[in-house]
Structure formats: C-alpha cells, structure tokens
C-alpha cells in the first residue's frame, strides 16, 4: 500500500505507545487514551483527510474497539489504525466526527452494534436498529434470543443523546432535541417514491424550503455482517450480491479479491479480463438505472423507460453468461463461476455500438433540456473538502473535483493496463453528478472495447482447496463499485469462518452528506439531490 514505511516511522516517533502488528495488511494499535491526539496529528499534520472505513470490532478479551482506514488524498498514503477499550461493560472511545465528517454515521453504526460510546459525538443514536433494541448484536457474547420479534410500534427518540467526559472520568449523558416544537416536520419515506427504497428523511420545512434533514436508516437491515461470521468463506460470497444490487459484480469482486489476497492466490489473466469486463458492464447497467431513476424523480417518465430498455441489453448479456440478472453469483474465490458464453464477445461488441448511438438520445431528450438544466445546475453543491471529509466516493466525489476513483488510486484487475479517463467535474452540483455518470458510461464502453478482443486463453477457475481457511490477520481491499469505493475488511483468526467482515458501504456517506448539501433548497431539489447522489438502500442497510 504505497510508501507507508515513511508514515509508519513518523507515527512511531510521534506516539511511542503505538504497536505495529504485521498480520495481514498490518495495522497500528493505539491506546484509547492517546488515540484522539494521534488522530488529530494524522489529520492536521500529515494530511490524512479521507477516512476510508471505520469498523467496529469485538476483540473479546482485548476489549471493544474500532479499526480506522485512513488515506491521504494528495499523496495516496494509507494507514490503518486500531484502538480498543478493555471495559466491556461501558466501553468508550474518543469521537473523531469533527476530524472526518464521515465518521459521524460510522460511529453511530459502531455504537449501534457494539455499544461503544463515542465521547464528544453530538448525536449518538442508534443508526440501524430500533431505539428499543436490547443489547448490541455484533458483540460476540450477544444473546440471540434477547430480541424476539417485536410487534410493538417503534417510538423513535426525538432527541439526540451525546456523552461527555467529566474530569473524574465518568460520563454524563446530554440530550438535544432534534427539531423544535414549532417546526413543520414531514417524513419523506420510508415509503416514498423518491427515496429509492426504504429510507426515511425527517425534513423540517419552512414553506417549500428545507431547513434540516434527519436521515433514518435501517428499515431493511439484514445483519449481513453478522451472518458472515457464521458462514464459511464461500458462503459469504452469496451475500455481496444482495448489498448494492446494482453492483453485484463489483461487490463480489471486492470480497473475492480480499480473500484471494489473504490466501495469496494469483488469478490468471483471463479471470482478470473477465472480471474487469463484467465490472464495467455492471457499471453501465447501474449508470443507466441512475439516469432512468433521476429522470423519473424529476418527472420525465419517458426517459425512465428508455433507460430500462437499454439496460435490458446489458442484463441480457450478463444473464447469458452468469445465469442471473440481478443476483449474478459470478465471481468465486480464485476465479469465476463459469467461462464466458461463446456469444459473449459478439454480443458485447454489438452492445457497444448500440449504446454509443443511444447516448445521443439521452443528451437530446434530457441533458440539453432547458428544464432539466434549470433544475440541476447549481443545486445541491457539495464542496471538494466536504466530499473528502464525508468520504463520498464515486461519481458524487468526482463531480466535486475529487479524483477518488479506486481504479486509478489502487489499480486492481486490468485497470492498471487499460487506458481510460477519470471523469471529474469542479462544480459539485447535481448537474455535474449527472454528467459524471453519463461520461462514465462512455469511458466504460472504452474500457470494454480495449479488452473484449484480447481476452487471453487460460483457466477461468484457479485451483483452490475445498476447505478455505484464512491465516490470522486482517485485510482490506476495495474496488470501484458503481457508486463509489466498495471495500471489504476481513479479520480472520485462522478458522474457516471469518472473525469479522465489514463491508464499506458506498451509500452511507452519500446519505450522511444529504443534510449538508440539501440545506435551504426546495423539496423538489431534495428529490433531485437524492436522485443524483444515487444511493442504494440495501447497500446502506447491510
């Protein structure tokens, strides 16, 4: 991971109590007492401005803690930190929500599942589970029978708790109301045509203007990370297709890559080619759906159908090879499920030609349309700083001028060898977010075109032991999913089951930033912003 020798030494010099452990990718373990100081040092002095992933952990005897994956966006340096509190009854860690805005929701998630109190966090509510949930389900000692099916309605808290530390080391709980009595609050969601699933925004309005947004997630949380802990490695693969259902290929690619990295398997060129082409086809599929759904949200229902008509062609190609349309089950550990279909190459080439001609149609009917421009240009501006701080990767980050493409930052599969342009815009508004996707379809077509004729001969499945056990350690690998960096963090204790699996959600930062960018806009703009952020709910609610 880059030249992190340098930063390793620097960190060791700054914080002598930091322990370096070599297992897997390697990480620093920092005592909870000095963690905040170290984080501030890395953030402000060393420029680690991007929190890639924050993972809550239960290390049993070693206490409960978190793993932080940090990246310096200007130098590309990476560092992994971990910290833990041994007190299992009342674990507390310093919050870093003010250093990285993206930590806000991630810490709420860690609090939700592990019960770690983040001192100083302004709004430490549960993120996914009901407010009346008993216990913390991702802890290893969680009693599965403690929460039987609850038929009562959830009474949701209307105030945000926060914990502050007093001088004598005890904590005081403070509560802040989320909305004032006289505010006009409406619920957009959980059942709403424009939330793309079951996401709920509590929106405070003044006339048509939005004053504050409070996002509620978790309506379709399935506990996939917990499920993974009781599944063998091949069994965990099935879940990734069900995260971001428009990025099934890429998600599974990330998990397979992570396991292959841990096992030390090198996959053949043919597999790399196939995986890359499949990822790009999936990206086109996802971006077409993005265009369709954005147009539908904005009232242009006809474009929605055009998008779906063209998307059908991609799905048809995918179905022929993988046997699935949404749930592809294609990548496997050390290969792919089946070799490409004999018709695959021809069909993909036909599709490239077809899609190029159709892009023009989208431009004419929507991109150039004066109403669409009026609605999108200048609304929902996300600054570059905020984009990095929230960790809004993918098209959203690139629209704000942040070159955050994992395919360029940490090239994997064939991406280091193909020639493609990373699309970035400076504006950061809805229109830039839309244009990024439109242009990326063209780039994806270019990538596929470069690869499709040269797929080398070779095996499509490497030899893998029937019983897969990862060595002790922890690994993180990421791919550029359809809507941002999709990362997989695996910690293994050498069993056939993973000790902890964390999926870096691409959508969670996108939802986290809604309150920031949708302030003082109209309701209609919120819909456009939601449409252009392009979150997928099952990806947020893992």
């Amino acid at each position: 991971m880059g030249n992190n020798i340098d930063i390793k030494e620097k960190l060791a010099a700054f914080e002598p109590s930091a322990e370096w452990s070599d297992a897997g990718d390697g990480m620093f373990r920092i005592p909870a007492a000095s963690f905040r100081k170290t984080a501030e040092y890395l953030r402000y002095n060393e420029g680690f401005d991007f929190l890639r992933s924050l993972t809550g952990m239960d290390w049993g005897e070693d206490g409960l803690g978190c793993v932080y994956h940090l990246e310096n966006t200007s130098t590309g340096e990476n560092i992994v930190l971990s910290t833990a509190d041994k007190d299992r009854e009342n674990p507390a860690l310093p919050s870093v929500y003010d250093l990285w805005k993206g930590a806000n929701f991630n810490e709420r998630e860690a609090y939700d599942f592990f019960g770690i109190k983040f001192i100083g966090h302004p709004d430490l509510r549960r993120l996914f589970l009901r407010d009346d949930w008993k216990g913390y389900p991702m802890r290893k000692d969680y009693d599965m029978s403690s929460n039987p099916l609850n038929m009562e309605n959830e009474v949701s808290d209307d105030d945000a708790p926060s914990y502050e530390m007093t001088d004598d080391g005890s904590y005081i709980l403070k509560r802040h109301p989320l909305f004032e009595e006289e505010e006009y609050v409406i619920n957009i969601g959980p059942q709403h045509p424009a939330t793309h699933g079951v996401l709920r925004f509590k929106v405070s309005l003044e006339g048509e203007t939005i004053k504050k947004i409070d996002a509620h997630c978790g309506y379709i949380h399935r506990g996939i990370e917990k499920l993974c802990e009781t599944s063998t490695y091949p069994q965990t693969l099935g879940f990734t297709d069900r995260l971001d259902y428009l990025g099934a290929m890429q998600n599974r690619h990330a998990l397979c890559m992570c396991i292959e990295k841990a096992l030390g398997i090198e996959v053949s060129e043919r597999i790399q080619y196939i995986r890359t082409i499949m990822d790009e086809l999936q990206r086109i599929d996802s971006h077409l759906l993005f265009i369709s759904c954005l147009c539908q949200d904005m009232g242009a229902l006809t474009v929605f159908f055009f998008g779906f008509r063209d998307r059908e062609k991609v799905l048809d190609i995918l179905e022929q090879t993988t046997g699935g349309r949404l749930i592809q089950t294609y990548n496997t550990i050390g290969g792919v499920q089946a070799d490409i279909h004999p018709d695959f190459v021809r069909k993909v080439k036909d599709f490239i030609g077809y899609m190029r001609s159709k892009m023009n149609e989208y431009d004419e009917i929507f991109t150039g349309n004066v109403i669409a421009r009026q609605r999108l240009v200048g609304t929902g501006v996300l600054s570059r700083e905020d984009a990095i701080s929230f960790g809004t990767t993918g098209g959203t980050g690139r629209a704000s001028g942040w070159a955050c493409d994992v395919r360029k930052r940490h090239p994997y599969a064939m991406y280091g060898k193909v020639d493609f342009k990373e699309i970035t815009f400076e504006e950061g508004d809805c229109f830039a977010r839309y244009m990024v996707r439109v242009k990326e379809i063209e780039q994806s077509l270019n990538i596929i075109e470069q690869l499709i004729d040269n797929i080398p001969e070779g095996e499509y499945q490497m030899k893998v032991k029937p019983l897969i056990k990862l060595p002790v350690g922890s690994w993180y690998s990421a791919v550029e999913g359809s809507r941002g960096e999709f990362g997989v963090f695996i910690e293994s204790r050498g069993d056939k089951f993973p000790y902890r699996v964390k999926f870096r959600s691409t959508g969670l930062p996108l939802v986290a930033c809604v309150d920031t960018i949708a302030k003082d806009v109209k309701i209609a703009d919120l819909i456009a912003i939601g449409g252009t952020l392009d979150y997928v709910i099952p990806d947020i609610d893992r």
Binding site: P193, E208, C295, M298, A300, T302, I365
Partner: protein, 358 residues
C-alpha cells in the same frame, strides 16, 4: 353544415305540445343534464384510455392490451373497480370539507364542460359573455383543490394544495390574456359567435403572428392550469406522493382523477374553439368545391378531431419533459408568459386597428 338546432327545436315543440312551457323547459334541463353527465363520463373514459395508450407509445410500450380488443375495456373495468372501493375517512380531518372538496372540483369541471360548443346548435351554455363565464366556472376548481389539501390533515396534501393554489391562480392570468387576444380579434365573447366568425378561416390563420403566439401561450398556460406535466407539481408523484389527493380513496379519488382528465379535454376544446375554429370545417376562401367537401364532414367530427389532436400534443409535451420546480413555474409565468402575453395583446390590437389580419 347540419344544424342540431333543428332537432332541439323539434324536441321542444314536441314537449310544449303535450305539457306547459315551464314544465317542458324543466324536463329539457333534466334531459340535457343527464346527457351532459353521460358525455362527461364517456369523454373521461376515452381520455384515460387515450392517455394510457399514447404515453405507452411514447415510451416504447404497448399499454393496456388485455381487457377487450386493444385493452379498450380496461378503463371501464377500472371505473367499476374505483366505484366499488371503500372510501376511507381520515381521522382528525375536517369531515365536511374533506367530503365536499371532490364535488366542488367536479362541479367546476362539469360547468366548464357545458360551455363548449360541440357542433352547430349543440351548445348548452351559450350567451354573450360565454368566455367570461367559462373562465369563472373553471377557476372554481381551485377552491376544491385547496379545500382537499387543507381538510385532509396531511402535510403532503397541504403542500400540494398550496402549490396548486399558487400555480393555478398565476396561470389563470395567461389563459385569460391569450383568450382576450382572440376576443380582440373577434369583438365577441360568445363561443358560438366566435366559431361562426371562423367560417372564412380559422383564427390561427386569420390572426397570424399574434394568434400563433397566443396559441402557444394558451397551450402552456392551459397545461399548467390543469396540473399536467411538466407542471404537475401539485401532485408531483416523486415529491409529494400524490399531492392534494394523497388521502383520498375510492370514488373520491376517482372524481379528482376524472376531473383532471376532463379539464384537459375542456382546455383543449377551448383551444380548438377559439384558435382552430371549433366545429367549423377547414374553409379556404375561393375554393368552393373544396369547402363543400369539407362541409360534408359533420361538425362534431371536426370538433373532436381538433380537440384530440391538441390533447395528443399536450400528452406529447407531458411525456417528454421533466417537471419544473415551484419557483421556476412562477418565474415562467410572471417573467415570461405574462409580459409576452401583454405585448402580444398589444400587437393584436395594432393588427386589428390597422386591419392587418386576413
């Protein structure tokens, strides 16, 4: 051109021969009312069917094609389904106003519908300030919509109602201005008279430039007036789920739905009447043979052909464009349509004064 007045007069004389004059008139009113409502329902059904088929065609689909030949019975089935559905009342809603609102909307719609001259002699409400009456009647609907939004005790409905209030009141102005442009040209406000004056050429040809501009403004404003895309934000599905009728169910919802479609029909038929000659066939001055052929086609066919052409045009617009935002809608009206409409009115006055029209 066949005059339906002969039939109506004949019926009248038949009635008066067996009963007293006031009773006959009362009976005729009842018959006409029933016929009007029947026609209203038939038009609504045709409109809904057409909307579904036309929108499907624009979207590369087939549309309903299961019930009856080409799915033609589909809408009738839907109407029966709607009639049998339970009307759910909402707790904490203002019951009286909540139940009243759809009827206000439908009354406004029926009254406006009655103003339309369908063929020669087939005018129900036809008097010297018909245009004024039409404008007044059609704008009652907004009261129903506001009441619906207010009384449902739903925040979505209220926002939808407020939006439609702002939008419909604004666009009323542009509709009025563009109709006024034609009134200047015809110097009458009676619909039957307006149609008669187009015997030697439709107003869109006679009034040339200002008439075409007025026609375009009328189409845009009329589209906004009936809350259809791209101006459908009172019921913007992706924003407010269904806007002012979110909380309505069963036939109460059905009334809103039907009124929306018939309002579109009314707006289109007024456009056809004042710009495209209503039931008046296409006449070219000097070509008597051609005119005679055109006259052979009955007036109501001319009328419906023109109306459905305009409806198709509006559907084409609706199914192409994204929706505007509330402030953009008001900007479009107050910064573009109203000033242009006023200038256009002035232009028309100049044209009329200097006899520049054909």
């Amino acid at each position: 051109m066949f005059d339906f007045g002969i039939i109506t007069n004949w019926i009248h004389t038949q009635f008066t021969s067996v009963m007293s004059e006031p009773l006959a008139i009362f009976l005729e009113c009842v018959i006409i009312g029933v016929c009007l409502l029947l026609l209203y329902v038939v038009v609504a059904i045709i409109m809904i069917y057409m909307e579904r088929k036309v929108c499907a065609a624009f979207q590369c689909r087939l549309g309903p094609d299961r019930v009856g030949p080409w799915g033609s019975v589909q809408v009738i089935c839907d109407v029966f389904k709607m009639l049998t559905k339970e009307i759910i009342t909402i707790r904490h809603s203002d019951k009286f106003l909540y139940n009243l609102a759809p009827y206000i909307v439908i009354i406004a719609s029926v009254t406006a519908f009655a103003c339309i001259p369908i063929s020669r002699g087939l005018e129900i409400l036809d008097f010297n300030v018909g245009v004024l009456f039409f404008m007044a009647a059609s704008s009652i609907g907004i009261v129903g919509i506001l009441l619906a939004g207010w009384s449902s005790n739903s925040k979505f409905s209220l926002i939808g109602a407020m939006r439609s209030g702002a939008q419909m009141i604004s666009y009323e102005l542009s509709v009025g201005l563009s109709i006024l442009t034609i009134v200047v040209l015809t110097d009458t406000m009676q619909f039957s008279e307006i149609v008669m004056r187009q015997a030697d050429g439709w107003f869109i040809f006679k009034g040339h430039i200002p008439a075409v501009i007025a026609f375009i403004i009328y189409l845009i404003a009329g589209n906004a007036e009936v809350n259809r895309g791209p101006f459908d934000l009172p019921e913007a599905e992706s924003e407010l789920t269904a806007g002012y009728h979110t909380e309505y169910s069963g036939m109460h919802f059905g009334l809103f739905y039907v009124a929306e479609f018939v309002n579109l029909f009314v707006i289109s038929s007024i456009a056809a009447t004042i710009f495209l000659g209503g039931w008046m066939p296409l006449h070219l001055p000097g070509l008597d043979g051609f005119n005679a052929v055109m006259d052979a086609i009955p007036g109501f066919i001319w009328f419906f052909a023109k109306v459905f052409f305009i409806i198709w045009l509006l559907m084409w617009i609706k199914w192409t464009f994204p929706r505007l935002r509330i402030d953009q809608i008001l900007t479009l009206e107050w910064k573009y349509l109203v000033p242009i409409g006023l200038l256009n009115l002035l232009l028309m006055v100049i044209v009329v004064v200097f006899k520049l029209h054909f």
